[in-house]
């Protein structure tokens, strides 16, 4: 009895939530309004588990057919959506004003994107993926085949339903809970552009996989994509914190594969349910900024023993530095606890690079001595961690040398010189008296 009540309450909450938080803002980085572009409305039903998991997390989904003439993400210069899901692999062009540039501008302005290709993906989808650093196999008939780690199935025997379990090792991207069951994948593979450092393989293929047309024999050319170079699902986090997920399989989002049992070939473990639901749900949480979004506030520094922030340091001063870092948990900002936040004292190159210690409540602090080099320095916190939004803070601070009267005055080593001068002076005083008044 309790469960339906809770569900009812939740439903109420969900219906109110969009009113409370109408859109994406730096204070609440989770997306709210999402445009879902489909090439067939039946996907709404066949992929409903995916959509209902998004809806139950408070997202406001707007479904549009890819050839809908009213499709647009921008109106009067304002973006109407925070996220875009393109489940339209065969669309050659969108119906409305949206095009490749439109999608890229959408991402460039910090919005999130999920793209799914499939066998026979259109050039449009390939181009969008290519702009994100992902190159799908150019052969339009090629799909991923793996004769060693396929999913055992009663009805399919061509080894194109892949059981993949080579996930990216990141709790923030895939959640704390380990994905036990393998993920079912049926579709095309892609390779990552080595020049792009933003794109990561979220799900990699096994070493024995390759990309080919399973119904025709291989010609004399080896396949262009093979082995672990193949990525099945990739994620991108741009510098502006926009996140992109690119998958080569539309089926992996479907209810059928969400619910399917899975047994990987050669393995005795049989799972009632594939890992797809967990994988996709956790990944979508990351994509839509329910996780892994950091903010840094209160960057402070002062001389040891003082609390005011000085306008300038002198060389060799001892200083204290602190910054607070919080992580968005989907509903509130919680302290981010990590041991690898570092601060740089930087002028052209870092003079000091120090790991900050934390109190576990979000405050990171350290202290160090200002180098004996004067000039205009910066405190720099460049925090880049797999899966988290990158933090890049800097604060300028000049460092001056000693003033002329700040040097050491009474140097013991110089006492003979001083002694000589003063004995000389005393001698002169006595001598002048004696010389003038001697009789």
């Amino acid at each position: 009895m309790a469960a339906p009540k809770v569900a009812f309450l939740l439903l109420n909450l969900i219906s109110i939530l969009p009113l409370l938080v109408s859109s994406f803002s730096p204070d609440r980085p989770t997306d709210r309004r999402i445009l879902v572009v489909l090439d067939d409305l039946s996907l709404k039903s066949s992929h409903s588990l995916f959509f209902s998991s998004l809806k139950s997390r408070g997202f406001d989904l707007d479904f549009k057919l890819a050839d809908d003439p009213a499709i647009a993400v921008k109106r009067y210069g304002q973006y109407m959506y925070d996220g875009l899901i393109l489940l339209s692999p065969s669309t050659e062009r969108f119906g409305g004003s949206l095009d490749v540039e439109g999608v890229l501008d959408f991402v460039d302005s910090g919005h999130d994107l999920i793209v799914s290709a499939d066998a026979n993906a259109s050039d449009l989808i390939r181009n969008i993926a290519a702009e994100c650093g992902v190159d799908f196999d150019e052969d339009p008939s090629a799909v991923i085949v793996d004769h060693s780690s396929y999913a055992v199935s009663e009805t399919e025997g061509d080894h194109t339903l892949i059981a993949a379990d080579d996930f990216i090792q990141s709790d923030v991207i895939l959640g704390n809970k380990k994905i036990e069951a393998t993920v079912l994948f049926k579709g095309i593979g892609h390779s990552l552009n080595p020049a792009n450092s933003m794109v990561l393989k979220a799900l990699s293929a096994s070493p024995s996989s390759y990309s080919t047309n399973p119904s025709s024999k291989l010609s004399s050319q080896p396949p262009s994509l093979y082995g672990t170079a193949i990525s099945l699902v990739s994620v991108v986090q741009a510098r502006n914190a926009a996140r992109i997920m690119i998958s080569g399989s539309l089926d992996m989002f479907s209810n059928r594969l969400f619910r399917a049992g899975v047994q990987k070939s050669g393995s005795l473990n049989k799972y009632e349910k594939s890992g797809n639901e967990q994988f996709i749900t956790e990944l979508s949480k990351w994509i839509f900024h329910e996780r892994g979004h950091l903010k840094a506030v209160n960057l402070r520094h002062n001389k040891v023993g003082e609390s005011e922030e000085p306008s300038m340091y002198r060389i060799n001063d001892d200083l204290e530095f602190s910054v607070e870092i919080f992580e968005w948990s989907g509903s509130s900002w919680v302290p981010h606890v990590s041991k690898d936040v570092q601060v740089q004292f930087y002028m052209m190159s870092p003079y000091v690079l120090k790991t900050l210690s934390t109190n576990g409540k979000g405050l990171y602090h350290t202290s160090f001595k200002v180098p004996d080099v004067y000039g205009v320095f910066q405190f720099k916190v460049e925090y880049q961690k797999l899966g988290y939004t990158s933090l890049s803070l800097s604060k300028q601070i000049p460092v001056r040398p000693f003033k002329h009267n700040e040097y050491e005055r009474f140097i013991t080593t110089a006492f003979p010189y001083y002694g000589a001068s003063f004995s000389m002076m005393a001698g002169f005083f006595i001598f002048s008296g004696v010389y003038l008044y001697n009789k």
């Binding site: 039903s45 009805t155 080919t212 013991t412 005083f429 008044y437």
Partner: protein, 701 residues
């Protein structure tokens, strides 16, 4: 041959009839669990009566015993709705529909009241929806309450006024002032017309029914088709009721046709292919994710089964048996294996009538050659499956297309069942492939003589350690053969060389007959290898969909000694950076401060200070020795005052110097020194001139 097979595992996998579509399963357990999940009432009741009806209907068709006790609450809400005078017509109809399943005990007064409501609105109806609900309501009343008089006197008029909304293409408009027509409306109209027919006294004229039948056939002309033989009714019209998906409009049409078929009790002569195509469409949806879609799917399938029994052939692999796999059911004791099993059922999964399944043809996958076989499958009554007990003799490991046909024992069934003719199924016969004579050899380039030769165990652990230079060749060879001893060409036969720095090179291993061989002539490959000497790991991958023992095996490594790269050689491509190392914390940097100057020990400085002071004391001792005195110090008041001031001034300057050392800066010192200097000039002049005049007096005396 059969004996050979005995030692193998042979799997027979069955794929789709055509390559474009997957095997569709009839409604199964997954639908039932989905139905229970999707139609789970909150607080013991559903949101609306419409939802309640959809849930009840779905449960009924799927044969689910009502798990949730919603009868009491639903019946109460049915009674409330019927009693209320303000309820909309639709609510009455939904209430009656729920009642038709739940059979609540209803107050007949209330029911009579609704009857008059329906009749009134029927008389005033002008839109299709009004007709639909009022007629639908009356039909339901007639079914549930035999005592209520629901017969229509002016059935012909109503029939014609609904008919007037029909279009020439078989579609219908929702009302006379709305020009847009839709398939969904056609389904509604057909249902309404079927209601009119069943309510009419006297009966509707035959001519009207004939035109209605033509309308239905016209509707089927506008049906949409996918390449794989799936048919559906698309919906372009977006009306007041929102966008109708193809699923709901197809379901609506099916419901309408079923109603007409039931009301007229005539055969409609619907095209069997399209009915099967519709069934494919509904099954192709799989397990829908929304409650309404599930209702449409299940409801439509149940009607499809009634209009014309639609058979679904579900073929699947299972089977094989081997003594090593006692858990698999052995269907036949004296045969070495059981091949394809074919289950024939209706779309809703109920068993088919007596029939036989025949294997008609076998094609080798990818070629047109067919061997014609006419073999009847044995029916296994216990499992309800048709079993192909012996495979034809010439079948070896590989992919084949089996063509099955359903033949009814009772000729009557041909009229009532649609079976879809021949079904072509892709079958993979898999087996363990024998790998022999595997060896890896380094050949000397010029003479072709064998330098090193290593036997390999495939599949198995191999760690060969080879070394070669650019003038030598590497040869890898092995034989593959099927259990029957025939040549086998796997889809995937790759040799991979991976350099230490992560650059891969992949080569296809070619074959002639059974023998697979690849020769790598390093002289021709130096360019491709970017002149990178060093250790290359060798990996062999052999795999095929029909090969049970596909493998990926590291074989060891070859240490290559290649010439140095010339100036213009292409550089190896950049390798992707490992994401885990890219993000780690950087090494700490601490500033190295300038070392302080080296200073002598304090004692040393102080000793020297003492030594420095020695001459001063020597000077004092000298003065004493010489008998220095101050006897000529002026005695008179004025000169002595000046002399005292002069010496105080010198002392002040010296004190200023001491202060300069202790605390003052240059500017303060110079200022003070200036003032003191002027004072000293004055008093010094006075003192010295007094001393000069005194000494000149002495001289002159």
């Amino acid at each position: 041959m059969a004996r050979d097979l005995g030692i193998l595992i042979i799997a027979v996998l069955v794929l789709a009839a055509t390559c474009e579509s997957a095997v569709l399963s009839p409604v199964s357990e997954s639908h039932r669990s989905a139905a229970l999940e999707l139609f789970s009432p909150a607080d013991g009741s559903y949101g609306s009566l419409e939802e309640t009806y959809e849930a009840l209907k779905t449960f009924k068709v799927l044969g689910i015993e009502k798990k949730h006790d919603i009868r009491t609450s639903s019946c109460a809400s049915v009674a409330d709705t019927l009693k209320s005078t303000s309820s909309a017509l639709k609510d009455f109809v939904d209430a009656l529909r729920v009642n038709s399943i739940l059979k609540c005990e209803l107050n007949s007064e209330a029911v009579r009241g609704t009857q008059s409501r329906f009749k009134d609105s029927l008389n005033g109806a002008n839109s299709l929806i009004d007709f639909y609900y009022s007629i639908g309501g009356l039909v339901l009343l007639k079914e549930q309450m035999s005592e209520v008089d629901v017969n229509l006197g002016d059935a012909d008029r109503i029939f014609r006024s609904i008919k007037a909304l029909g279009q020439s293409d078989g579609r219908w408009r929702l009302s006379s002032n709305n020009p847009e027509s839709s398939n969904n409306a056609a389904g509604i109209a057909l249902e309404a017309l079927a209601g009119v027919i069943s309510l009419a006294t006297p009966q509707i004229g035959n001519s009207l029914i004939t035109t209605l039948k033509n309308d239905i056939l016209k509707l089927f002309d506008g049906i949409e088709r996918y390449d794989d033989g799936t048919y559906y009714f698309d919906e372009k019209h977006v009306g007041a009721r929102g966008h109708q998906s193809p699923l709901s409009s197809s379901a609506s049409v099916v419901r309408g046709i079923a109603a007409v078929a039931a009301a007229t009790s005539e055969t409609l002569n619907l095209p069997g292919e399209k009915i099967l195509g519709l069934a494919k469409f509904f099954l192709g949806v799989g397990v829908p994710g929304s409650a309404q879609d599930l209702y449409h799917q299940i409801d439509a399938l149940s009607y499809l089964e009634n209009i014309r029994q639609v058979l679904w052939k579900l073929t699947f692999f299972r089977a094989l048996y081997n003594k090593a796999h006692p858990d698999l059911k052995i269907y036949s004791s004296d045969l070495d294996f059981v091949a394809a099993l074919v289950r024939v059922s209706t779309v809703l999964g109920s068993p088919a009538p007596t029939l036989s399944v025949r294997l008609m043809q076998i094609f080798v996958s990818g070629s047109k050659d067919a061997s014609v076989i006419d073999q009847e499958l044995k029916f296994d009554a216990v499992s309800g499956m048709h079993v192909l007990e012996t495979l034809p003799k010439n079948i070896d490991v590989g992919s084949y297309v089996f063509s099955f046909e359903v033949i009814f024992h009772n000729p009557e069934h041909k009229k009532t069942y649609v079976s879809g003719g021949r079904t072509r199924v892709l079958v993979h016969i898999t087996g363990v492939i024998k790998i022999d004579n595997a060896e890896i050899v380094i050949l000397d380039g010029d003479r072709g003589s064998v330098e090193t030769q290593k036997k390999l165990k495939l599949p198995g652990d191999n760690t060969v350690a080879l070394s070669a230079n650019h003038l030598q060749k590497l040869r890898l060879s092995f034989d593959l053969s099927t259990p029957f001893g025939n040549a086998f060409k796997p889809h995937q036969a790759f040799l991979k060389l991976r350099h230490e720095n992560g650059i891969d090179h992949i080569f296809l291993v070619g074959n002639s007959g059974k023998k697979f061989e690849i020769i790598l002539d390093f002289l021709g490959l130096v360019e491709k290898f970017f002149y990178l000497s060093g250790r290359y790991n060798i990996q062999l991958t052999v795999g095929d969909a029909d090969m049970e023992n596909s493998f990926l095996q590291p074989l060891g490594f070859v240490e290559l000694d290649l010439p140095d790269a010339p100036e213009k050689a292409t550089r190896p491509p950049p390798q992707a950076v490992d994401p885990y190392s890219r993000y780690g914390p950087k090494a700490e940097i601490t500033h190295i401060f300038r070392a302080p100057e080296k200073r002598p020990a304090k004692e040393l400085s102080l000793t020297f200070l003492g030594l420095i002071l020695v001459p001063f004391f020597g000077f004092l001792a000298g003065l004493v020795q010489l008998g220095a005195n101050l006897k000529s110090f002026p005695k008179s008041t004025v000169p002595s005052t000046f002399a005292i001031l002069f010496h105080l001034g010198i002392a002040a300057v010296l004190a200023l110097y001491a202060l300069f050392w202790l605390k003052l800066d240059l500017f303060t010192t110079l200022k003070a020194l200036g003032l003191l200097g002027m004072f000293l000039m004055f008093v010094g002049h006075k003192t010295l001139s007094h001393l000069a005049s005194t000494s000149s007096k002495l001289k002159s005396v």
